[in-house]
């Protein structure tokens, strides 16, 4: 079963602990600017929204890479960058429709989420249900349950 990093943005408080966990795992330092997951704050609508690679099944970045530096981790489904192969051409950053693969000027390679090898640290430190790591095929179940409950309540009300 493939698991995915699932985002429930309405639960995000904007604490940026996920960015610190990510940067620590990958860079050995607490450095939100080098995190693969990013939390965006929208003042106008009072929302904090975490955003990260969703590990496309047919990944644009992987398709675009001219040196085959991006491969699929068979165990996790993550699209991973092999740093030794990456030439830093940045074509993947153009190909990705979501902007979730980015160039690191210090290493001269690209960085993206690799699901920490199958146990993402961002999820472990998130103090709310904003981030979870769940079965891809049931990612919508919580929302379905939520709306199903409302549907049921409506019938209940009209029956009364």
């Amino acid at each position: 079963m493939v698991k995915v990093l699932h985002i429930n943005a309405s639960e995000c408080t904007g604490c940026h602990q996920c960015e610190m966990a990510c940067s620590y795992h990958h860079e050995g330092a607490f450095n939100p600017s080098k995190s693969r997951i990013k939390v965006f704050k929208f003042d106008e609508t009072n929302r904090n929204v975490p955003y990260v690679c969703t590990q496309c099944a047919d990944a644009w970045c992987l398709q675009a890479c001219p040196v085959d530096a991006i491969s699929v981790n068979a165990a996790t489904g993550a699209k991973e960058v092999t740093a030794e192969v990456c030439v830093g051409c940045k074509v993947c950053t153009i190909a990705c429709p979501f902007g979730t693969i980015n160039y690191n000027s210090i290493t001269a390679k690209v960085d993206k989420c690799d699901l920490c090898g199958g146990d993402p640290d961002c999820v472990k430190v998130c103090p709310t249900p904003a981030l979870s790591f769940i079965e891809a095929e049931s990612a919508g179940m919580d929302k379905m349950r939520h709306w199903a409950e409302k549907t049921d309540a409506g019938n209940q009300a009209s029956a009364d």
């Binding site: 940026h16 330092a29 009072n46 103090p127």
Partner: protein, 615 residues
């Protein structure tokens, strides 16, 4: 370790920015933030310095845990001599600015001198330079942040700035970062304004490392779990914010009301945390939209509020119709109970004004409360106020006066003096609810005895954040004590003062101390820094900081006579509630406190004490 070991020294007179090494010997003795910056400040400034002169300095400081994965690591501190108090000023803020500063590679920024014209400090990692801020002068905190982002073309910068209040000489101007987080008290923003320093804009991408990652991560994980499991930090604060206290403290009979003439407010339920979550009659929406977090904080006690757009204070003014920083307990109390106003929307508006213009809401609300009392007894008339009926409970008058104070207009200029100077000016010094020139906050010492000693001995003037004995006396943390007795409070206050100084110096939020003890914090610092750090070491650091601040104040001219309370608290008994008939029994607690501190009967740290603490 997390120290970048770099201090940025900014000479505003010469326009220079220079890097110098952090004094690591001092860092071992004073830990960081409040402690280390106070050491730097007291080494470099004459205690008699005029706070608003070019000779005063202003320090922005991070702690060792600032910007790390430690819970609540967004804290940073401003150290200077307070414009309101003439005492050591230490004002601490959350938000994101402090972590950004550390990520830019600076442990501390020391501002000295005075610029000839308005400037802002622009920091991008190692690069720091002063730039012209003429276009921002006269603008609010909110507009200044927007202008800085536009000037940099970078939405990710973090800013700390002053609003109009910091420019126009208001004596309790705040330094506000991230639009609604503030180093609020004692007039640190006034000092910043006196130097023609409008703002600091910062972008940091260098990252922070710790000495022993495994130990550090284990300790932070354990602390996060304790915070999540604790009913105050895991549930009460996220749900209601600090406003969880309004009804609790009112029922305790310790909610200073109408300038401290009473200890319970009949309108408390209208302005507390529960009221913020209740749909309004006017538009069916609740004032509270959500909570939010500062950097690295799993508690998330920030309030995000949205006002009724048709409320008289904001009707026709769309800039106040969005979601902004909402009421905290202190602000709801000072702007509300202290003025007798129970209009939640009006208080929310006044709170916005404090963020926008950059003012301390505690001193603002309590000064208006004092002015209202003088208006009631005829010491101030409509001739003074420009026609405003400044009566207790008048929400329209409150909103108008807050506007005028932020802009320094009309009678607002006088409210901007703070209650001590205002009450002296109108012949009623006894009506200022202040200690060392700073107004006491939302806990009446007649109903919570420990807070009387807390206020009287606080080094930065009356304050709840130096030793929050409410935790013990009301909430039972770490153990319940009787709020109505002075017995044992000297020891309690000393222990809270020293521990709080250690939390502040570490660079984490004092709200963690509802759940964490120094035994929990010490392993994080031990994993972060070199050397051995235990809770005992941290308590010693806290005591050292307290005595250093005290010594500075004594050298500045304060004496034991300043360790007192407004006469009202010592002589006029509480009229209602559990504390009915009680006054503050400060006289019983103070001598015991001096003795426990190792100070002379005159409140001076003895040579033995100074030597024991290596001061």
């Amino acid at each position: 370790m997390s120290w970048t070991q770099k201090v940025l020294r900014v000479n505003l007179t010469n326009g220079t920015c220079q890097s110098e090494p952090l004094n690591m010997e001092w860092a071992k003795k004073y830990l960081g933030s409040r402690g280390l910056a106070t050491k730097y400040y007291t080494e470099e400034c004459d205690p008699k310095v005029d706070p608003l002169s070019a000779d005063n300095k202003l320090i922005f400081a991070t702690g060792p845990l600032t910007g790390t994965a430690a819970p609540t690591s967004g804290r940073w501190t401003v150290i200077t001599k307070g414009a309101l108090t003439n005492a050591i000023a230490c004002s601490n803020s959350g938000g994101f600015f402090g972590a950004e500063l550390k990520n830019a590679g600076w442990d501390m920024v020391i501002f000295e001198g005075k610029s000839a014209s308005p400037v802002y400090l622009d920091i991008t990692n190692d690069q720091a330079e002063l730039k012209d801020a003429s276009a921002m002068w006269g603008k609010s905190v909110w507009d200044t942040e927007d202008m800085l982002r536009a000037a940099r073309g970078d939405n990710d910068i973090r800013c700390a700035s002053i609003g109009q209040a910091g420019e126009n000489g208001n004596l309790y101007a705040a330094i506000v970062n991230d639009k609604d987080r503030a180093a609020g008290r004692s007039g640190v923003g006034t000092v910043m304004g006196s130097k023609n320093l409008k703002a600091v804009a910062c972008r940091g991408t260098q990252g922070i490392q710790v000495s022993d990652p495994m130990k550090f991560m284990q300790a932070t994980g354990a602390c996060n779990q304790i915070l999540a499991d604790n009913p105050v930090t895991g549930e009460g604060l996220p749900t209601y914010g600090t406003q969880v206290l309004m009804n609790v403290i009112n029922e305790t009979g310790a909610l200073p009301t109408r300038n401290g003439t009473e200890v319970q407010f009949e309108g408390a339920a209208d302005i507390g945390g529960e009221a913020m979550t209740t749909p309004r009659e006017s538009d069916g929406k609740a004032n509270l939209v959500s909570n939010a977090a500062c950097f690295g904080c799993p508690i998330s006690c920030q309030r995000r509020s949205q006002m009724d757009p048709n409320h008289f204070s904001v009707a026709g003014e769309p800039k106040y119709h969005g979601v902004e920083g909402g009421l905290e307990y202190e602000n709801a109390w000072s702007l509300g109970a202290a003025t007798g106003v129970n209009d939640l929307e009006a208080l929310t508006y006044c709170n916005y004004i404090c963020n926008e213009y950059g003012m301390d809401p505690i001193t603002l609300g309590t000064t208006i409360g004092a002015a209202m009392e003088m208006f009631q007894i005829g010491a101030i008339t409509t001739e003074n106020t420009g026609g405003i009926q400044l009566e207790f409970g008048n929400a329209e008058a409150l909103c108008k006066i807050c506007d005028m104070t932020g802009l320094g207009e009309g009678f607002g200029k006088e409210i901007g003096l703070g209650s001590k100077r205002l009450c002296e000016k109108y012949g009623h010094p006894e009506l200022s609810m202040s200690v060392k020139g700073q107004e006491f906050p939302a806990y009446d010492p007649r109903g919570i005895q420990g807070m009387g000693l807390t206020y009287a001995t606080s080094n930065r003037g009356a304050c709840h954040l130096r030793s929050y004995t409410v935790a013990s006396e009301v909430l039972g943390i770490p153990e319940k004590t009787d709020p109505l007795t002075p017995d044992g409070k000297a020891g309690l206050v000393k222990a809270f003062q020293d521990a709080t100084a250690a939390f502040d110096a570490a660079g984490i939020c004092i709200f963690t101390s509802f759940a964490l003890t120094l035994d929990d914090v010490a392993p994080m610092i031990d994993g972060d820094l070199e050397g051995d750090w235990s809770s005992e070491t941290l308590m010693e650091v806290g005591e050292r900081i307290w005595n250093l601040e005290r010594k500075f104040n004594m050298d500045a001219g304060f004496t034991a006579a300043d360790d007192t309370l407004p006469q009202r608290l010592l002589k006029d008994a509480a009229k209602t509630g559990p504390a009915e008939g009680k006054v503050s029994e400060l006289g019983k607690m103070l001598p015991e406190y001096y003795e426990l501190r190792g100070w002379t009967p005159d409140g001076v740290p003895s040579n033995e004490t100074l030597s024991r603490l290596d001061l």
